[in-house]
Amino acid sequence: MSTTRAEAGTAGPAGTSGTASPATDAAAPSPARSRTGLRTGAWAVGLGILLVASVVVAVTIGPAGLSPADVWASVLAHLGIGEPTLTPLRDGIVWELRMPRVLAAAAVGAGLALCGAVMQALTRNPLADPYLLGLSSGASVGAVVVIVLGVGLLLPFAAFAGALVALAATLAIANAAGALTPTRTVLAGLAVSSVFGAITSLVIFWSATGDSYREILNWLLGSLAGADWTSVAIAGGAIVLIGAPLLASARTLDAFAFGDTAASALGVHVGRSRALLLVGTALLTGALVAVSGAIGFVGLILPHAVRLLVGSRHRALLPLSALAGAIFLVWADTIARTLFDPRELPVGIVTALVGGPVFAVLMLRNRGLR
């Protein structure tokens, strides 16, 4: 084609002359591309280091006066690499209380950010987020009902079913009202999450024997107070099992940027891909909510922040959003459990304090939103 181009400069009726000159050494990789690749890699390494450091430091924060060295010692001892140096009590604080909680926060944060990024691409809606579209509330209902019925094993699956029902309801309501515009989708999500939030509260209130208000708050606003190693296994397992296929869909998500027709013309199976990926986000949201309740805005904030750093290509956006989400929720949860120590703030209050303003800024930035 380059040869055609060269001839065209003279022969063409409206030749765009002057373009063929620096053209011919086309095999040289574009500097722009490798620059973005390098930058993405640098951010990945940077955020990865920051995540590990955040986990270690977050574990030390709180009563008991632990140091990062204590944390390392405990972790190494439990991995069978070093000798235990901490007293059993202090070791228990690190390994049985704080480490699972911090790791669960990291996994939930990573998963929510991943879900948000995927949903934003699939619905071409910058305001999409598992919480705003009602998935988290739906998942809470599923989780709470199963807990009341006493079949704890089914917890993640019930939460998934709840998330899926809520997602279907939101999309159906938004779609029935006309085209699936961002505003309609968010409004439908508001309606759905209000109803599912109310159902969650009702079920807890009806069945509760103890502090039902606290319980309700934890589900509606999210809390990692009860996180243990099982929680880490559920959230972490979901990230591995569902996160991997989502990451593998980066190219497909990119193709959605210009709309369904363009995606289809690029060889994407539009209907099937969208359905599968949305079910994937519902599945992941279900597993996360089963662990933490409905934590809002993580899926909204982090993908947008990461887009500012590395742009919209999902091969970079998805993994970096996950890393950023993990770091964000580790710190949000650390604030939630220490700010009014010994009382705990539901972590969703911290994320909403950041997320609400971000939501407003996004609305202002996307004036074309309908």
Partner: protein, 297 residues
């Protein structure tokens, strides 16, 4: 079936498509010879975009086939089809956060696996397409910051990055100033001479007559005339299909047909709102075209 360079022609054969209960495309037969520029003409609502979507496999026809040479396009796997046919839509929508080079790289989607990144070949193709569409200087710009004409060129470059044999374009000259329109069509003609088969939906009849090797006129979902521009674009056809009086002149320097409109036809401007209903009884604008010029059979 294929031209002297072995480039396959596009054949649509009795293609029919209904949306809801509306018949949008009604038994369309048409051909675009290999490595030529075909222009798809017709008033708004004639079904131009839909026909392009059917050929591209974005929509599925209810009946009929579209073939490239001997290959039935509907039988190809979606991904394989995207390596043979590319569709450049007219877009003005905002797509935040993507740079021009990244948008063009989307054209490599049908060639890339799930995990492997773009290889040297992919990068080379993207670079060449940026050059072909005269976008090298804009490669690092954000797509959102481009003018309408620049976006049209990016859309073209993205389609070219699919390395198609057949390039479909939906009104590629919309939002373009005169110079950009001529540049775009000149480029399409060069690409066609280089071995690409092009089919573009166009509004401007003179532009189509000036650049296309072959025109297909669609009215109410039917082909009413097709063939060489000079033979197809007659005052009678223009009156019947578009409802305007026009004279067809000869361009003083290129010798190509030049359409000079004078006024809206007084009697019976074609009714575009319910011409589909009318079409069932044969009283459609296109049906009055006496002689169907079709030299492709």
């Amino acid at each position: 079936m294929s031209d002297e360079h072995g480039v396959d022609a596009l054949h649509a054969d009795r293609v029919r498509f209904t949306r809801g209960r509306r018949l949008i495309i009604d038994d369309v037969d048409c051909t675009v010879p290999g490595s030529s520029v075909g222009a798809l003409l017709g008033p708004n609502g004639a079904g131009k975009s839909t026909l392009l979507h059917l050929v591209a496999g974005v929509e599925r026809a209810d009946a009929g086939t579209a073939r490239l040479g001997v290959r039935d396009l509907a039988a190809l796997r979606r991904r394989d089809r995207a390596r043979v046919i590319a569709l450049a839509e007219q877009e003005v929508q905002d797509v935040p956060g993507l740079r021009v080079a990244e948008v063009v790289a989307l054209g490599r989607t049908p060639y890339l696996g799930a995990f492997a990144g773009p290889g040297d070949l992919d990068r080379a193709v993207v670079r060449r397409c940026l050059e072909d569409a005269d976008l090298v200087e804009l490669a690092d710009r954000e797509y959102d910051t481009l003018s309408g004409g620049e976006r049209q060129r990016v859309n073209l470059a993205r389609a070219l990055a699919q390395e198609p044999e057949l390039l479909l374009l939906d009104e590629p000259t919309n939002h373009l100033d005169v110079r950009a329109q001529l540049t775009m069509l000149g480029l399409l003609r060069e690409l066609a001479h280089g071995g690409l088969t092009v089919l573009a939906a166009l509004h401007d009849l003179s532009l189509a007559a000036g650049y296309a090797d072959h025109v297909i006129v669609l009215a109410s979902g039917r082909v009413v005339a097709a063939g060489e521009p000079r033979r197809v674009l007659t005052p009678g056809l223009i009156r019947d299909v578009w409802g305007v009086e026009a004279q067809v002149l000869e361009h003083p320097s290129t010798g190509r047909p030049l359409i000079a409109y004078s006024e809206v036809s007084g009697v019976q401007a074609p009714d575009r709102t319910d011409d589909r209903a009318a079409g069932r009884t044969g009283d459609r604008p296109g049906a009055r075209v006496g002689e169907r010029v079709d030299e492709q059979a």
